[in-house]
Symmetry: C2
Subunit: 298 residues, 2 copies
Amino acid sequence: MTSTDSKPLFERMALIGAGLIGSSLARVVRRDGLAGHIAVAARSQATLDTMTDLGLADSATLDAAEAVRDADLIVLCTPLGTYEAIAKTIASALKPGAIVSDVGSCKESMFTDVAPHLPDGVHMVPGHPVAGTEHSGPEAGFAELFDGRWCILTPVPDTDQDAVDKVADLWRQCGMDVEIMDAAHHDQVLALTSHLPHLIAYTIVGTATDLEDDLKKEVFKYSASGFRDFTRIAASDPVMWRDILIKNSSAVLDVLGRFTEDLTSLQRAIRRGEAGTLEDHFTRTRAIRRGVIDAKQD
Amino acid sequence: MTSTDSKPLFERMALIGAGLIGSSLARVVRRDGLAGHIAVAARSQATLDTMTDLGLADSATLDAAEAVRDADLIVLCTPLGTYEAIAKTIASALKPGAIVSDVGSCKESMFTDVAPHLPDGVHMVPGHPVAGTEHSGPEAGFAELFDGRWCILTPVPDTDQDAVDKVADLWRQCGMDVEIMDAAHHDQVLALTSHLPHLIAYTIVGTATDLEDDLKKEVFKYSASGFRDFTRIAASDPVMWRDILIKNSSAVLDVLGRFTEDLTSLQRAIRRGEAGTLEDHFTRTRAIRRGVIDAKQD
């Protein structure tokens, strides 16, 4: 679909925040003419200038309320910790029938931090495009980021179906497969598949940071033996991940509890030299890899 | 160097074990004519048949003592837990001046499990080519596996220099950069860069295995968000890793202790909503990634 041969999906789309995800979305919207006008709001003038220079913003402002005025789609692309303040700022500027969505990794946040501030007649369709890299900022974005990945939407059952369909259409245009899920369930699944792995990678890389200097140098040198994968994950945006772990703390602490129980039991097996316990455990995990490959996520 | 235009590095090389590493080494030795004869010993006839079919074994036997007879280089390519039994089996068949080496991930094992059984006049040069994939078995090998990676040798200071040089030459022919290091220091460095990451990956993937079936299916589906990297690591050979963690338990338990302290402190910060603690920690780890990239390990 392009704006020249048919009506765009949205007349005016407002992006609040333009980092890796926001700028990647803007690239697809621009490429395929999915919005008549892209309004970008960001905290820093530098981000706005970059988006304008990249040709991804028809208007750019430091004032989120100004960006959302007359927009039929608003997408929050900022760290979860900013949601409540943004919701308060934009609430009175939203037009009736506008759709408010987001791209955050914890979906309950939309219900606790955003929904209470939205006026009647505005539709909330929380979204999570499950895609990313360890890079951040508007220059790190690219239109193919979403291709072949999942996008999870977590509207409540009585959400306006047209609004849900339009947001789903937007992500399908980005090349994503769209799933509808309960927000709490989403947060539980992602706590294990994403939030816990990031927390652990951040932890082990931090443990290395605290080593004496000569040992640390060797840790870099021989990182190809496993550690390297963790350093890549632990290079992700610190503020984004700080907010995810705090906003989804309940689900994260639950899976973290399970993980540390399992780790303690393996630690005990190592200390006691229980070869059979270790081998059994490590054999079971091989099957999981097969499951991941079968699910075409590799 | 090829066998046609000069004397091979070794007249007879005995590989004890022919999995990913052993068969990859055999491929390089064959390709470059580094040994006049490759004798392969393995536990299973199937492995021997595969090595013979691949043209990588000039002789193949289930009896390690037979393989090492008259060999000037013996390389143990089996899980660490087999070292002591193999050392006892081959000791009396070793010829004077023979070099005994290995490819194991814990280097103290050679001193505790192998050295006490070797006759006088035999040179021990422990080695660790820091390379691998999550695949195993003789078919999984390939000659380029070692290219551009590190090989760490851990001879004691009074080891015969010619023996050390010949083993170093072998790995350089494989494309590796060779480092000499103290065995205990090696085990400490690898505990952090390799053994702990594997243990953690095995643990978290195991935690997922214990989930209810419907949740588990979704964990596969959305694994691209971080979990996927862990499943790849956790698909490594269970017996090999069982032995590494048990043989290097002292260094592994030490770094595991540091890791769990750090994890507990981050867990506490999440539970108490201490945003600053998390952000500070996550910001520090970004610098480490830069160190890894500078060390050209990515």
